[in-house]
Amino acid sequence: MQEAMIKRAKELLADGSVDRVIGWKRGEFTYDITPAVFTSAEEIDSDFVCDDFTAANVSKYLVKETQKEGKVLAFLKPCDTYSFNQLVKEHRIDREKVYVIGIEGGPKLDIEKIKAKGITGILSVKNEDYTLRIETIYGTQTMPFYEAVLDKCASCKSKKHVVFDELIGEDGDVLDSNRFEMVEKLENMTSQERFDFWRDQLSKCIRCNACRNVCPACTCENCVFDNPKSGIDNKAPADSFEENMFHIIRAFHVAGRCTDCGECSRVCPQHIPLHLLNRKFIKDINELYGEYQAGADTTSRAPLTDYTKDDCEPSVVHERGVE
């Protein structure tokens, strides 16, 4: 697929259809890939990469890119297209300035899962018929491909591109995923067990803001947590209450807009399963207002910003909270 992408990118640059290409740039090792903007065929030939490690969702970069002159080619995986649509819907991306090529999605790999097996000194990772062959300074190691798949890919919601100008490869379908399994597990806990689970997870937070800054739903010009006038602009939690509330407030703020792209959990240096907070909201919205997938289109009205007479009564919160 990488070859076909490179070919198309160079063609579109050469005929002037686009001025820039956003994709992924190869790094020092086999896995340290950086989202990047390419402007020439030479750069693309030497650095462009699309492989098992190009998991980063480039949609959010298009907010900045479409504020510039000219048109940009974006390669979007199925999950990325939902983020893209949602940003178009929120008028954060100028659709006219983007040429979208839909590409096959994952499953992409999580290098941290490979390292968690005790594999170190990694020089290369090859997928040989769904067995990973990992060359290291300490010799060759193997592990099953599926044990190294990113969490966000392991519970993939859709192989369908909800927006594209052209496709490389086949389009897929919305999947009947298992993505709410863990949410259900949490729902079935007692409130004390659930509190303990989240305290344990959230106490790991180092407040680096990676989750917020990578999140395609977090595009405020000035975040409430950065605004000295908000009174909650602390860079570190002053106490455990604040430690909890940062992520919960963020989840509330993206509720109904989060497409479940999973980037928050992917980038968390402390492996906090932040996507579970968002998924709880998605599951609740589905149950209370009917099935809704943020980013599936750019025109429908979102349940949380649309009033209908059939909307559940606010008391549902209280009723559901009773154990």
Binding site: G27, A56, K117, I122, C208, N209
Partner: protein
């Protein structure tokens, strides 16, 4: 050299922990180690290093500086500092041990930061030599030999025993305090282990990375480099690199109303954050390019300019492993060097 059989190591830990607080690197979950207060039954991690660096012991993410009681127009300042209790950190890697000497240059120069010094005075750093460096390691670039780590006491693992070597007065005292557990040991096997580790160091992907093109005299050459735009393009402006970095020491000072007074605390800050230099009437670093440049110029140019050529990086590789977009000091160095 004095040694203890690995089979007896946890007995030793129990003994140390009965006298003072002991911290060891242990697994929080598979692949993620952190320093925790030792309790019987806790096991050392097999990971090379912890996710968060060891700087937390001396420069914690948040700490209280003072308290204020306000009564009408009057303010009372309460000095809440207390002498810290003695503690031991076991298993610090050579890179993190070196980071303490870098932090010392900031916090112990005049006027001395008493909060940092208090912890530093009461902490004994017991290091552990590396045997299995990772591909992200490049401490050698900064003149560190991970097979001979610094700290108050250096430990070496030859597979069967742990050897102890005191480097400072504090270290001597510590080794003396555990002498009943130690016996004299033969270091032949240890030398072999060291030789092998050094040989691996030479084969690491970043073994050839050098600082020769960096230093205090490179200010104008690199500050105005046209590479910064491309390097910083994908930067999310998060603080991951800063917060996992053992040498990053920028901080913010904040007040918090507890309901019964005002607590003034300091917390880690990041030059990558948009409000780091923001003033009521402007900001000298308006875009991520300037903020990104600051972090790397500080480590590679400004810090050595002010500290006799010492760089503000120890090559621990945490930012290489943790940056959400995999942009890091190695890529910056290579890009700046490429003419």
């Amino acid at each position: 050299m004095q040694k203890i059989s690995k089979a007896k190591l946890y007995e030793l830990f129990d003994d140390i922990a009965s006298k003072q607080t002991l911290y060891i690197p242990t697994d929080r979950e598979a692949g993620a180690a952190e320093y925790r207060k030792y309790e019987s039954g806790m096991k050392l991690t097999k990971e090379l290093n912890t996710v968060r660096s060891a700087k937390d012991f001396f420069f914690p993410q948040t700490e209280n500086l003072a308290e204020f009681k306000i009564d009408g127009k009057n303010i009372e300042v309460r000095d809440i500092r207390e002498e810290c209790e003695d503690f031991v950190i076991f298993g610090v890697r050579a890179c993190d041990a070196k980071s303490f000497t870098i932090l010392d240059k900031v916090f112990l120069c005049e006027p001395v930061d008493s909060f940092y010094k208090n912890r530093r005075d009461h902490g004994t750093v017991v290091t552990m030599a590396c045997k299995r460096p990772a591909e992200t390691c490049f401490c050698k670039t900064f003149g560190i030999d991970p097979t001979v780590p610094g700290g108050d006491v250096s430990c070496f693992d030859d597979g069967e025993s742990i050897f102890f070597l005191a480097n400072t007065d504090k270290g001597e005292k510590f080794v003396e305090s555990i002498s009943s557990f130690l016996e004299d040991g033969d270091t032949d096997k240890l030398m072999e282990v060291q030789t092998r580790a050094r040989e691996i160091m030479g084969r690491l992907p970043l073994a050839k990375l050098s600082t020769e093109n960096f230093g205090g005299d490179k200010l104008n050459e690199y500050f105005n480099s046209d590479k910064w735009a491309e390097l910083s393009e994908a930067c999310l402006g998060c603080g991951t690199c800063t917060f996992v970095c053992p040498t990053c020491q920028c901080y913010d000072i904040k007040d918090f109303n507890t309901g019964h007074g005002i607590k003034r605390f300091r917390c880690w800050d990041s030059c990558m954050y948009s409000d780091f230099t923001k003033m009521a009437h402007g900001n000298p670093r308006l875009t991520q390019l300037e903020r990104f440049r600051q972090r790397f110029m500080h480590k590679l140019v400004y810090f050595p300019a002010n500290n006799d050529g010492e760089f503000g990086c120890v090559g621990c590789g945490r930012c290489l492993a943790k940056c959400p977009i995999s942009m890091n000091i190695v890529k910056v160095m290579k890009a700046l060097e490429a003419k």
